[in-house]
């Protein structure tokens, strides 16, 4: 009689039940671990936006149509074209394409042309002290106060051009950054040429 009772549960059923139990417990543990990790290793912010922003030149010029580099980085992350940054130029587009695994495309001419680095210069005799350029500067590189002459902190200026339009007396110029012994760059050797040894 007792033997009969044991036979009632077939051995395959035992095995299946065991397997289900083991997998359930295992996946439960994994789920718990993942849940824990999601809470404790949470990444603040969007890392891809940060990476894109690191490539952008931080001129904050707004030529791309966004109020600053970070908003443009956000827009690129959301699928906007990578060729809207003239200060970054070709090199910038290349490294963005490299990062996002996109094709290299030429700079969008609507946004502007790639130019040599510039820096703002206030003609101090003509400045009337209206503070409009100070408000326009995205990196706080202009010092001055109302009815006092303003001036540009050259080392902080990104050459973004944003201070030029608000000036009511047109006393801001954007000269090119002068090359000197310190920021001078070596020329690339000419390939395939005859040289005097």
């Amino acid at each position: 009689m007792e033997i009969e009772l044991f036979v009632a549960i077939p051995p395959w059923l035992v095995e299946v039940t065991q397997a289900i139990a083991v997998i359930t417990i295992f996946s439960g543990l994994c789920g718990a671990l993942l849940g824990y990790a999601a809470v404790y290793f949470k990444v603040e912010g969007d890392p891809i936006v940060e990476q894109i922003n690191a490539i952008l030149p931080q001129t904050q010029c707004g030529q791309c149509g966004h109020p600053g580099c970070k908003p443009y980085a956000q827009a690129i992350a959301n699928g906007e074209a990578i060729n809207r940054c003239p200060p970054g130029g070709e090199a910038g587009i290349k490294s963005l394409a490299n990062l996002l695994e996109l094709d290299v495309i030429p700079l969008n001419e609507e946004c502007g042309e790639e130019s040599l680095p510039r820096v703002a210069f206030i003609i101090e005799e003509e400045c009337i002290g209206c503070t409009k350029c100070i408000q326009a500067c995205p990196v706080d590189a202009i010092v001055g106060t109302a009815k006092q002459m303003h001036t540009v902190i050259v080392s902080e200026c990104t050459g973004c051009d944003l201070c030029v339009p608000p000036c009511p007396v047109d006393c801001i110029e954007m000269p090119f950054v002068e090359t000197n012994l310190i920021n001078w760059r070596q020329q690339k050797p000419i390939e395939q040429s005859i040289v005097l040894n």
């Binding site: 922003n53 952008l56 030149p57 931080q58 001129t59 904050q60 600053g68 580099c69 970070k70 995205p138 990196v139 706080d140 590189a141 902080e156 990104t158 090359t179 000197n180 012994l181 310190i182 920021n183 001078w184 760059r185 070596q186 020329q187 690339k188 050797p189 390939e191 395939q192 040429s193 005859i194 040289v195 005097l196 040894n197």
Partner: protein, 539 residues
Amino acid sequence: MPKNFTSTATNKFHGGIHPPENKLISSSRAISKFDSDKYFRIQINQSSFQNIEQAVEIIVIKGQKVIQGEALTTFQPLDRLNVPVHSPCDGVVSDIELFDCAHNSSFPEMTIVIKAEINVDQNRSVTKIENQWKAKSQSSLINKIRKAGIVGLGGATFPTHIKQSSPLKTDISTPSTLIINAMECEPYITCDDRLLRGYANQIIQGALIVSKIVGCERIVFAIEDNKPEALFAVQESINLLAENKIDLSIIVAPTKYPSGGEKQLIQIVTGHELAKQQLPKDLNILVQNVATLFAVYQAIVLNSNLIGRLVTITGNLVDAPGNYWIPFGTSFSHIISQFNVPEKDLKFIIIGGPLMGQKISNFDISTSKKVNCLIFNKRVTNVEIKECIRCGECEAVCPIKLLPQQLYWFSKSEQWKPMEQLDLKACIECGACDYVCPSHIPLVDYFRFAKSEIKHLSSKEKTSELAKQRFDNRESRLTRIKLERKARQKKNALDRKQASENKSVDPDGKKTAILEALNRVKNKQNNTNKINTGITGEE
């Protein structure tokens, strides 16, 4: 002192080349007199290590009289790097202007022009203060060396006082060593050789001074085996040193380029290879060139500032090749006329050796502290640059075991990351790879280009990081101000609301006005009562 203090080097470094030496052209003539020019053009910055923040300060004005050895520039107290330059003659400052200098960029640099009134006297009698230096403190000696304008005269012009201002440690198993670099491994150059033959005693004195400054236990004199006369002179002068506490020895190394490079020399002398980013002082070693030590001797013992140096004038266009004492600031055109160099055959002058030297075709430029050799050669061979054939010769000769071929490909395609990984920074630009390249590719030019681009990119990164920070700061400030304004508006609105609520109880403020008026009347009455009672009291 042990009898046989001379030994042959047993250690060697990787790679290296054996170019034709061409040293006999100039080394066979003894140091001779040089008729100096009437005008000297002194570059105000003659050390390789330019301090960008602290500009060199000129302390003379146009028209001022100066005497030989007088300082023309000075440094700020906080500035640790700059070294002054001095007038090479008695004369008048005739101009201070921007002028071309021997820099790869061909950008002009500030120069001081001095018109000589009396001819330069190299052997001007000096007040000798022999052996008094032994009583002086290390810092005062270093200060004196800096004020004398001494930089590394092997051609690199690194400020000497910086090298010497970190004393060597004595507690480590390796003894603290001063290595005297007399290798002079580049072809054509013989000024160190000739200096040793003539002034070995003074150089050893200079070495003793430096060894006191840095506190070293032993001095090793390293020389290549192609200078037997100089070696003999040094042995003689060491024998003359009667009693000496310092362990002084000579190591003779086989001739191989670039054994005079600091890292290579250390490897030859000690057998230790300097690791990446390691400096000689990490191995308790200081390396000094013989010409630098001679300048130290002159500054400390003879009390004279650095105003000139021994320069090798050589090449097949020079009528009297040899070594000459040439004051700094002498123009190349004057040297050309002095040595009857036919200008129509001369395309360019090489400053330094043919391997690491620099080609200069502007002959108005003047000599400076880095000019140890001038080569005037007639060149007719044109060389065609061909494609790299991947022979790997360059890797075999690289003294620091880099992969020049790989670096070349990456530099050509402007890929900077892999170049940094291949340790481009460690390249000493010795030109051994250029020399052996069968396709005549200017490899070192490619490496210089890459180095300069990498430097440019890193500085760009720094400025963009700064701009980002300032932009973020501004954004957060603007949002803060906005929030504050909002809060203030809210508060004002609340206040107004409260006031209007008060008004609804007393719509046009009449009740309060009446109450106030009543109070005033009451007060007045009280006062008058008091006065009245006062008067009655008197009555």
